[in-house]
């Protein structure tokens, strides 16, 4: 009987993203072997298959397997794999709703952390209210204070959007497109990012999306990826041209190169 641990392809454990034909062939071979695993190790094998699909950005397949795992084992890690994959696919609403429902019965700090990040990225007064009600169940005052602090930042973010009269729905749609673009890019190039927004001199919202360890070609590629995604969203009816033009009259963003790594940048911010 195959030990699932032995089937993990090297590319997943090497610490570097490798999507060469050889690596992908190894992944396929691994999946082929893992699908044959039964008995006590079956759950582990299913999880590994999900992770291998996620490694290849095959989100639909990954989700399929993560859901199978969660049906058999409701550990929080298995739940998180589902919502993280949903967000990566761009189904942020689904990720938010599932997380809110999960927290109704299971007050888990990792899920709370994930959800707070998500609602910051895709702000909504309703979701903020629901998140707040989940926080009331936290008994530890320090932890509750910490999360309330983060909720305060979400409120400030919403205020900023209201100040420049940006419709929340359109804003979250654009953020969805931007995040899908960035996740896709991060997936293939391993380059992390961080966003900051401010009100520009024209009284519009201007966002700078810093891509760590990026170069000139990365910015060109990101612009192309983003524009392609916008076109897809419009063709699929998820966003109308009028909505897009309206949001662009109030919100603009730029991908920018940041030559430090994210860790170096966080260190600089902490010391300054």
């Amino acid at each position: 009987m195959l030990n699932p641990q032995l089937a993990i392809p090297y590319c997943l454990t090497s610490g570097k993203k490798d999507l060469s034909p050889l690596a992908l062939a190894e992944c396929e071979k691994a999946i082929h072997h893992l699908k044959k695993v039964t008995g006590d190790d079956e759950l582990t094998a299913l999880r590994y298959i999900g992770l291998i699909y996620a490694y290849q950005n095959q989100c639909d397949n990954a989700l399929d397997y993560f859901e199978k795992v969660y049906e058999k084992s409701s550990l929080v890690d298995n739940f998180l794999n589902i919502v993280i994959t949903l967000e990566r696919k761009g189904e942020y609403l689904s990720a938010i709703n599932k997380s809110l429902n999960y927290l109704e019965n299971n007050l888990d700090l990792e899920v709370l952390n994930f959800l707070t990040e998500l609602i910051f990225k895709y702000p909504s007064v309703t979701n903020l209210g629901q998140l707040n009600s989940r926080l009331e169940k936290i008994e530890d005052t320090e932890i509750r204070k910490y999360f309330l602090g983060r909720l305060e930042k979400i409120s400030i973010h919403i205020e900023l959007l209201n100040k420049v009269q940006i419709p929340m729905k359109s804003y979250t749609l654009i953020q969805n497109i931007i995040n899908i673009t960035l996740n896709f890019f991060y997936f293939f190039k391993g380059k992390d990012f961080i966003s900051e927004e401010k009100i520009s001199i024209d009284n519009e919202l201007f966002g700078k999306i810093r891509i760590f360890n990026a170069d000139y070609e990365d910015i060109i590629e990101l612009n192309a990826l983003y524009d392609t995604k916008v076109q897809q969203f419009i063709e699929q009816g998820k966003l109308t041209l009028d909505e897009y033009l309206d949001i662009l009259s109030k919100y603009n963003f730029s991908f920018v190169i940041h030559t430090e790594s994210k860790e170096e940048w966080e260190k600089t911010c902490a010391t300054s």
Partner: protein, 161 residues
């Protein structure tokens, strides 16, 4: 004076440029784009009519000309162009007005990358637009002594569009 001189004066920027040199270069880069776009608009009857009918600052009118043109033509590329004009304008405003932030070499390169994207989009419709070679500033690559041979001159190369 020809407006491409605004671009030409930025090509001497090196990786060790001072912050003021970078800020000035980013500002000149934007104004190269500004005049190039005005030139493109003036050569197109539809774009001219739209531009002349718009209110607001000259920068906003440039951006909104292409937003309006998207609605007329249904072609998303004009919105993509407008978005890039907004981006370039905002980056230039950071260079000119935001004295409390650090402007670094990578900010200048980011702006060059946005310019390259804009140029590519225009050249899909008009091969003569943005008739410049966008070159990344030259970098010193390596200085190395080996056991067998000393490398006497610093090799350098530039990224060529």
């Amino acid at each position: 004076m020809q407006h491409h001189e605004f671009y030409n004066c930025t090509t001497s920027i090196q990786a060790n440029a001072t912050e003021i040199e970078l800020r000035n270069a980013m500002s000149r880069l934007y104004y190269y784009v500004y005049h190039e776009i005005l030139s493109i608009i003036s050569q197109n009857k539809d774009l001219s009519l739209i531009y002349q009918g718009l209110d607001g600052s000259s920068h906003k009118r440039l951006q909104n000309t292409f937003f309006t043109y998207t609605k007329r033509t249904g072609k998303l590329i004009y919105t993509e162009i407008s978005r890039l004009l907004q981006t370039l304008h905002n980056l230039r405003c950071d260079a000119d007005y935001e004295l409390n932030i650090n402007i670094v070499f990578s900010d200048f390169n980011s702006m060059l990358a946005q310019l390259q994207t804009l140029k590519s989009k225009f050249q899909m419709e008009n091969a003569t637009a943005f008739n410049i070679n966008i070159e990344l500033p030259k970098k010193v690559v390596v200085i190395k002594n080996t056991n067998k041979q000393d490398i006497q001159n610093k090799p350098s190369f530039s990224f060529v569009d």
